[in-house]
Amino acid sequence: MRHATKLAAIAAAAALSLAACGSSSTPSPGAGDTPAGTGGAALKVGMAYDVGGRGDQSFNDAAAAGLDKAKTELGVETKEASAVNGEAESARKERLQQLIDAGYTNIVAVGFAYAKSVGQVAKANPEVKFAIVDDASPDSAGPNVDQITFAEEQGSYLVGAAAALKTKSNHVGFIGGVQTDLIKKFEAGYVAGAKAVKPDIKIDVKYLTQPPDFSGFSSVDKGKAAAEGMYQGGADIIYAAAGGSGGGVFTAAKAAGKLAIGVDSDQAKTAAPDVRDVIMTSMIKKVDVGVYDFIKSVKDNTFKAGNRVFDLAAGGVDYSTTGGKIDDIKSKLDEYKAKIISGEIKVPTS
């Protein structure tokens, strides 16, 4: 009896402490500071991040970039909080409500996990304006909710084509953070783009975790292990659609002397400096533009509820050229881009 209890105690403590260090992110010290030189009537914006939070160099950081831009250009006051892996629905609701209680009456919720909580909290606080990234479902819809969604499959199609044009082994890879419908859109677009260039190309696909375990978006170690396996298996370019775990993919690429494709942010600019040179291109998802536009619309009194779709035509998704590694194929990629915008190419979403 005592033996089992002690074993259990050690295991329980280990599980809790492992969970505690599962993410590298800490709230930034600057969060909550009032920008200098603004009056007392500054717009107050509260931001609730997805798992991984500010500092993931990818999805959440893209949202953070929009917030930072609003802070410097529009002089808004900000407060940030991020989600914890595996948290209860009530915890998400409570986070949004606490931001409102603290006086931050314009709320940006980053990630589809907030859909239901945004819907409910928005109903309970009709005077507060909300934006939710990655959801356009009836769950979150309301007269005070701006639903920001992206055509991730279109951007992913372009980087898929880039990977196929650049591969020397005719073998590329895809690493998804968590196997959700959202990340499957990235995969579908990437595969379609690569196959459009080389119908016989070999594409390895791997997801780091399965829901409800969302640690796949914030586990550098898991990303690294998966990428090492793929590079050893012969792939020479891997698309990392895995949020903060992408950092591990880049490290593995650097060690293997291969290439990787970033996601959400222009990661050749946001990733750790020593691995930036392995990032061939990034599928940019302009969450920052969506967030900034929302804040600006509130400030200018032009807020509009409903779904705003950021697709290739609207410039909401794109591929990046930082580092100059794809300059030689840019004209080909822009051909595909024009065809997608004109509707000649229909990119699948699943």
């Binding site: 209890t5 295991a11 329980a12 969060a31 915890a91 959801d135 959202l182 829901p211």
Partner: protein
């Protein structure tokens, strides 16, 4: 004399958890100091009086934790370490959500049968580990950890096959439970002013807690179970079929684990999807330890964990500190509890030895005096 011993026992019982919490506070404060975080602001946030809606959230989270800890405690009583509660409750929640979502049965009947489905599937998943243990001698620690991983993939796969797609949504969910089969919340309007409601299935936690106490302490089966947990050889000598006990208690633990997700399913989410709460099984292990496998003790431990969770949610907003700090505190509490119990137990033994020695000395003196007269 006996009353003094009784009082002492109660004091000793309370001393260990209190000591543990004090140690946890001190250790966490040290961690905060080292990390350069604001110690005062953190404790002010963690120990401030919760708002009415937060009290409801604490009760609700506590309900779920309680069920999980009872499931773990059933195993502990039998000297089984069921780490698999986490996988068991997810398999069971999915099965129940899938069943209830079809709406084959009307209203409450749907709820009751879904609860049975949950218990059966939780028991089934735990039964695999039980069967491996009694037939092949595989440690349940190993098999349940592996079954957790398998459960994750199995449920994710089945969910993707059975999910109902909502236009514009990126979430993957089962078909929602019909309105008539949702368990209404209990309003606390008379006590505290909040529109939030306590899960109706808190009743389930109370019933499970009572049954746990009753079966273990008032039935022959419970006696056999505890006896086997303490000493297998002694149990065999008194005619207990140990293998059957192991298998049965694993099934019971799994059935209880199956109920863990039910208050969430019928009182809040109405679907099983990729954003459900996870990790409840692991929290249950810590809570069962903290509550010393006692149905009342576990209730306090579950509420303490729920309290820390709820209060910790605001840490990022009010104190600018990561709310993962709460996980650190919870971990430190669990470790401190184990150490504190050992310290208090040894102190108790020393005290008892001193008392007995004093008594013996007294007795040794009295007959001599009697002989003289």
């Amino acid at each position: 004399m006996t009353t003094r011993l009784g009082v002492r026992r109660i004091l000793m019982g309370a001393a260990a958890p209190l000591l543990a919490i004090v140690v946890a506070v001190v250790v966490t404060s040290l961690i905060l100091l080292v990390a350069g975080d604001p110690v005062g602001a953190v404790w002010a946030q963690l120990f401030k009086v919760p708002l009415p809606r937060q009290i409801v959230a604490i009760i609700n989270a506590g309900t779920v934790y309680y069920l999980s800890a009872i499931a773990v405690a059933i195993g502990f009583k039998m000297n089984l370490f069921n780490i698999g509660v986490d996988g068991q409750y997810r398999v069971a929640s999915f099965a129940a959500a899938l069943f209830a979502g079809q709406g084959w049965l009307p209203g409450w009947l749907n709820v009751i049968v879904a609860l049975l489905v949950a218990m059966a599937s939780g028991a089934l998943w735990a039964g695999i580990a039980g069967l491996l243990r009694v037939t092949r001698g595989v440690s349940e620690v190993i098999s349940t950890i592996m079954l957790n991983a398998i459960a994750t993939f199995l449920v994710a796969f089945l969910l993707s096959k059975t999910a109902v797609k909502v236009v514009g949504s990126n979430a993957t969910n089962t078909k929602p439970i019909p309105e008539g089969s949702r368990v209404p919340g209990i309003s606390l309007d008379g006590l505290i002013a909040t529109p939030s409601r306590v899960y109706g299935l808190i009743v389930l936690a109370v019933v499970v807690g009572f049954l746990y106490w009753f079966v273990l302490n008032k039935t022959r089966f419970g006696f056999d179970l505890r006896a086997t947990g303490r000493s297998e050889t002694a149990a065999v000598a008194s005619g207990v079929n140990v293998k059957r006990m192991v298998f049965t208690s694993m099934l019971l633990s799994g059935a209880a684990a199956g109920l863990v997700g039910m208050p969430l399913l019928f009182g809040q989410d109405y679907v099983y999807g990729d954003t459900v709460q996870s990790g409840l099984g692991f929290a249950g292990i810590a809570i069962a330890l903290l509550g010393r496998n006692n149905p009342i003790g576990i209730a306090f431990a579950a509420l303490l964990f729920a309290f820390l969770d709820a209060q910790g949610n605001g840490l990022q907003i009010t104190a600018g500190v990561s709310d993962r700090l709460v996980l650190v505190i919870q971990g430190v509490i669990v470790l401190s509890v184990v150490i504190a119990y050992e310290v208090v137990r040894r102190a108790g033994i020393r005290l008892e030895q001193r008392t007995v020695a004093a008594q013996l000395a007294e007795q040794a003196r009295t007959p001599l005096e009697g002989a003289r007269s």
